[in-house]
Amino acid sequence: MSAATLAPAPAPAPAHPARLRVTSGKERRFFTAALVVIVGATALTTWITGFNPLEAVGGMPNALQFIAADYFPPTVNNAGLLTSALIETVALALTSTLIAAVLAFLAALIGCRAVSPIPWASPVIRGLATFIRNVPDLVWAVILFTAMGFGFHVGFAALTLGTFGFLVRAFIESMDEVSADTTETLAAVGANFPQRVMQSIVPSFTKDFIAWFLYCIEVSIRGATVVGMLGGGGVGMLLNGELGLARWRPRAMGTILILAALVIAVDLLTSYLRKKLLNPSATESVTAEHRDTVVVVRGGRIAIKKRGRDRAVHLFLISALLLSLAAFLPIRDASWGRLFTDIPGLSLTLVELGTLDFSAWSRIWTAFLDTMGIAVLSTVYSAVLALLIAPFATRNLIRNPVSPALITSVATLIRTVPNPVLVMMAIAPFGLGVVPGIIGMTLSSTAFFVRVFVQGYEDVPDETIEALQATGANRMVVFMGAMLPASRSHMVAWIGMRFEMNFMGSAILGMVGAGGVGAVIREAVLGRRLGVAGVAILLVFLFAFALEQGMAKIKRTYIR
């Protein structure tokens, strides 16, 4: 600071001296703008949907009573059927993930500009993946069921398509990150494309591949249930029948709980595998201290790697492959051949969808606004709820272990139940329309937010909390002064991401009886007015695409 600025100002002091800001202007403007957008969107969608949160809260005791009377006690009296349905659903998840992962790997090789052997084709691949990804899975399912009829192979195709779209993007990003430089290097050496793939991309990419594969298994188990509800078979189809008939509802509850146990078991298994396979300290038991001056010769040939290195990883890859292949066996009523023979019929359906018919535009637009309403309101209310709940589940803030354990287990249970099932359960007490949609979506995204918010709060190091406490801060101050600011940008990112998910989720709710654009798509497809469905799908795609691009830009610009 120069001497001039220290001199007393000649101008009279303003009546309200400007306050010294402790945050940067850019950050403050971003959060202000975000708040304005959120409040505005909430007001607008509340007006459109006429959703009254107080009424919904007031109706809760009644609804819980309703569910208690209807769904309890949970019953399982069809163990044989249930078991085979569960096996079919797991098999569907495994097979579709495997095939999608293999296809996505091949597509990503071409789609990743840094490694592509045909660079001009990479935008084509990425565009295709973006299109597939931004049309909700269930819309693909409905299209495929229309074109190819019902059956396991169709559910398989729908799930594979959805996972493929997701994985292509994930794989391209990973490849860009881990193998762009080494691939260039091998090109300089004179290696050709297959050699570059096997010697640079595959070894660098294995860990990311496993991480994404495990994630997709988790998602696909839930997805397979929902696709089953629409006609893919398995536990979803069973559940759909049970939820539809009042006297079977205790059985539906039994099925839901068993399904929840299965999903939790799969999540535990995948997180165990993650820890075992992806944690570097666990796999690199052989460190740089271990030295060998001797050349290892095996069978008269010089060995180029140590035996037993990466054994766990290889074991996992081989067993995953075998298990996924074996999973084709329990799927009995599938006609795999028709996946190929039905391609002409499918192309015809796609052409019909592409022949856009705007005659029902006003109805589509109204339904689309309802869907937006469900997405916006459920995201906002669940974020607010989670903000209130999460501190009580944060272990380094709350000293007693009971409330974190209780909140975490309820949240986990809710997360395991597929969203459409929650919505179907809310339809009986709240009636058809947007209200059960908003309530079901709010429940599942609250469970999601509680988990990620708690993770963010618990990431604040104990030392920081101690330092604050040493200055005399109480828990409230620690929370407001350290935990909230530390995780604020991540929370905005999570809320944005969940809004994308909720929008896609809302778009399909109509297919299980709630309002919104999904109902229009389903009706139009069943009535063979594919041009109308095409318009609705295009609208959903365009919005989802704009959202994806916008969120990516916001993340790049504002969120560190």
Binding site: S179, D181, T182, E184, T185, L186, A187, A188, V189, G190, A191, N192, P194, Q195, V197, M198, Q199, S200, P203, S204, T206, E284, V286, T287, A288, H290, R291, D292, T293, V295, V296, R301, I302, A303, I304, K305, K306, D310
Partner: protein, 278 residues
Amino acid sequence: MADTLQRPTETPAADPAGADTVLSVQRISKTYPNGTKALRDVSFDVRRGEFIAVIGPSGSGKSTLMRSLNRLVDVTSGTVLVDGEDLTKAGGARLRAVRRRVGMVFQHANLVGRLTVLQNVLHGRLGHIGTFAGMFGRYTEADKQTAVELLGEIELGEHMYNRAAELSGGQKQRVGIARAIIQDPSVLLCDEPIASLDPSVSKVIMDMIFQMATSRNITAIVNLHQIDVALRYATRIIGMHKGQIVFDGPPAELTKETIELIYDTPIEELMIGEELQR
């Protein structure tokens, strides 16, 4: 290893111009899609055994020049002849054949971290062996023997079976050099080989590049940020400014005025050794 605090002895008297040319760069230009003109009408010939340092400020086109010499970057116009063969027109198998005569050392070594040090050195042979052998790492015993010997030469024999990711920055760069040398190249390109290493490791790496190249009669072209390093090792210096060659000659002819021209900055503003400000 030779004591290189003094300038290493010069290579034997140069052949008459054009007699033993390994690399001929003829009027190449490169304009990137975003409009950046990275190279403007660059020409020079390189004879066998030369040790060339390319100096110039960031963005002067040094890296693009390197990458045009093995066609990691496609030039917009002009030709590059490697051992008399036109690199700019080669495609497929012929491009691979030309590329394996040009070794390259990168700033960050670019090793495949999950593979062993030995596997990374053997990557240099990929251009010489069949597609399937290369895909599944079936190298010949002779290649493996050479790789083991090279690892001894760079003093990393004991790390042969370690993952490349476990090595330090300087060790990685040594492996990067071995990978380029096992290619048996006529020309060795080094793109800022010491830019991210500390001074003592930098000396080891530069000594190693110099020793490997001169003992095998390989021509080396090295991009450098440090003028003093360039003066210590090079038999010829090329100075670049805004995509053009503004100086091309022996180190003795590199004057204060030339350095100011290359860096577009008064010499007092440059962080270089006092002895250079003559």
